[in-house]
Each structure stands twice: as C-alpha cells, then as structure tokens.
C-alpha cells in the first residue's frame, strides 16, 4: 500500500470530484459583466454596444442583449459603464445550448 494513501488518511486529505470550495482568486479572473439596470440609460447602452470589440452586446428594443459566449471579458464596458456594471465573477459558464448564453438585460426607462 502506498505511503501516500496512509498519509492522506492521517491528514484527512481526500481527492474531490469537484472543488468543494472554489479558489479564492477565481472571482478575480476576467469574467463577463453583470449589469445594474437602474443605471443603464439608453445613451449608455448605445455607447457600450459601440465599444464592445467582440459584438457581445446588442440593443434589442427595451433590452440590452449580452452574449456571454461571445464575451471575451476584456473589461471595456466595465470601464465605460461606471456603476452600471461590475464583473460577475462567474466562471462556470458551460452550456448545452447556445441560446442559453444570450442574456436579456432591461434598459432603464425603456418601454416595458
């Protein structure tokens, strides 16, 4: 029997199927933005759509559509949006359908 196995038993270290607790720094990795609709004016949305280099942002009526799959987490919208956006810190983004990665975010003052 391997000595490593005995040491593991003694120290209580087990192999996990998936991290029980994610790394503390995981939230600091570049991640797609999380928007705050209360600050998301129509004018700001236009600016954000214009500066997104990967065309992950699009205006669709009263909604800002964020394509999480296309987002490269470059951070340009975070810089431009001020209080209207912050990093989401989400990294578990795998999806079995492309449509599930399209997120509709209501714009402030837009028609309902």
């Amino acid at each position: 029997m391997s000595i490593w196995f005995l040491r593991g038993l003694r120290r209580g270290v087990v192999t996990t199927r998936y991290p029980a607790v994610t790394d503390r720094w995981a939230a600091q990795l570049p991640s797609p933005p999380l928007f705050v609709p209360a600050h998301l004016t129509a004018e700001l949305v236009e600016r954000l759509v214009a500066i997104c280099p990967s065309k992950a942002l699009a205006r669709e009526g009263a909604y800002l559509v964020l394509d999480v799959g296309a987002c490269t987490a470059c951070g340009r919208c975070l810089k431009a949006a001020g209080p209207a956006a912050r990093p989401s810190g989400v990294f578990e983004l795998a999806a079995t359908s492309r449509e599930r990665l399209l997120k509709r975010i209501p714009v402030k003052g837009g028609p309902p």
Binding site: A56, A95, K103
Partner: protein, 173 residues
C-alpha cells in the same frame, strides 16, 4: 448545416437530441473517457489552459479524463479556434474517426462566434462544421471553467449559466 451528422440522434428538437446524446454518453462515460483536442486557428491560449488541466492543482486524471493523440481512441472532442476553413477536412475526418457515442465541446469565445465574423477564411462559429454538444465560453476559459464544461458534457454536473441573468437590482453600497 451539419457537414457530419450524428448517426444516433433521438428526439425531435435539436435540444432534445443533444440531451439524449449527452445522456447516452454519460451512461457510457460514467467512469473514464479520452479527450482529443483540435486547434482550428486559435491563439494557443486555450491550449495553454487545456494543458493546465493536467497540472497537480486540477489533476484531471483523478476524474478519469485522459488526453489521447488518436481520434479513434477519443470519446470527447475539444475544439478551439474560430473554425478556419482550412481545417474543415481535418475536423470532419477527426469527427468521423471517433467511435460513438461522441461529444463535442467548443472551447473559448472563438468557436462560439465571439471573435471572428464569418468570412472567406473562417466559419466564425463551430456549429457550422460540427454538431456542438457543450459550449464553454471564456477568453480563455480558465482550467476550472473547462473542468466544469467537461463534467457537464458527461452529465456529472448540472449547467449553471441557464439560471443566471447577469443583471441585478441596484443595491445601496
């Protein structure tokens, strides 16, 4: 337009078909599976992150995942890059050589259509060439994100992104 259609599809809608294939794959891959990677013109950062899956910190082997250089031994195909047209034949031959059931993961923003638009050189999105089962966003996806994608692909973890809406009410801070 799927150049190479899966032969064992069941279900009416494409989503049902994917779910059925993943279920079938999960039953087969309960213990271990082999991964083949194909780079279709990526900047190699995704490859660097995929390679990091083997580092002691992530230790992919403990979960029963192994990389293989031969598509005939592979159960799962990880594709990076914007699907350049020059790689069409290679991709289709790789996919055809893999035994059923097989799962395709699109890795990174490029194969998801985020970086390059469709033009004379690239397809821009992987689903124009192969049927994609799992989409793993990120530029690049971190090793932990890839691990999550792999476990979603074999049905050991539930996907989470469908429940998130990426906006929140203003909170006084």
């Amino acid at each position: 337009m799927n150049a190479v259609g899966p032969s064992s599809d069941v279900g009416d809608t494409p989503e049902e078909a994917v779910a059925a294939r993943l279920k079938q794959a999960a039953a087969m891959f309960g213990r271990s599976l082999h991964i083949r990677t194909v780079d279709t013109g990526s900047c190699a950062v995704c490859e660097s992150e995929i390679r990091l899956l083997l580092a002691p910190h992530y230790d992919l082997h403990r979960l029963g995942f192994f990389f293989t250089p031969a598509p005939r031994h592979a159960d799962l195909l990880m594709v990076t890059g914007p699907a350049v047209r020059a790689m069409d034949v290679a991709l289709q031959k790789t996919y055809a050589a893999m035994p059923e059931p097989k799962v395709v993961i699109a890795v990174g923003a490029c194969p998801l259509g985020g970086v390059y638009a469709e033009d004379a050189l690239v397809h821009g999105s992987l689903d124009k060439v192969l049927p994609v089962d799992v989409w793993a966003p990120g530029c690049p996806p971190s090793p932990l994100a890839l691990l999550h994608g792999l476990l979603v692909a074999v049905g050991r973890l539930a996907e989470k992104v469908g429940l998130l809406n990426f906006w929140e009410e203003d909170v006084a801070r």
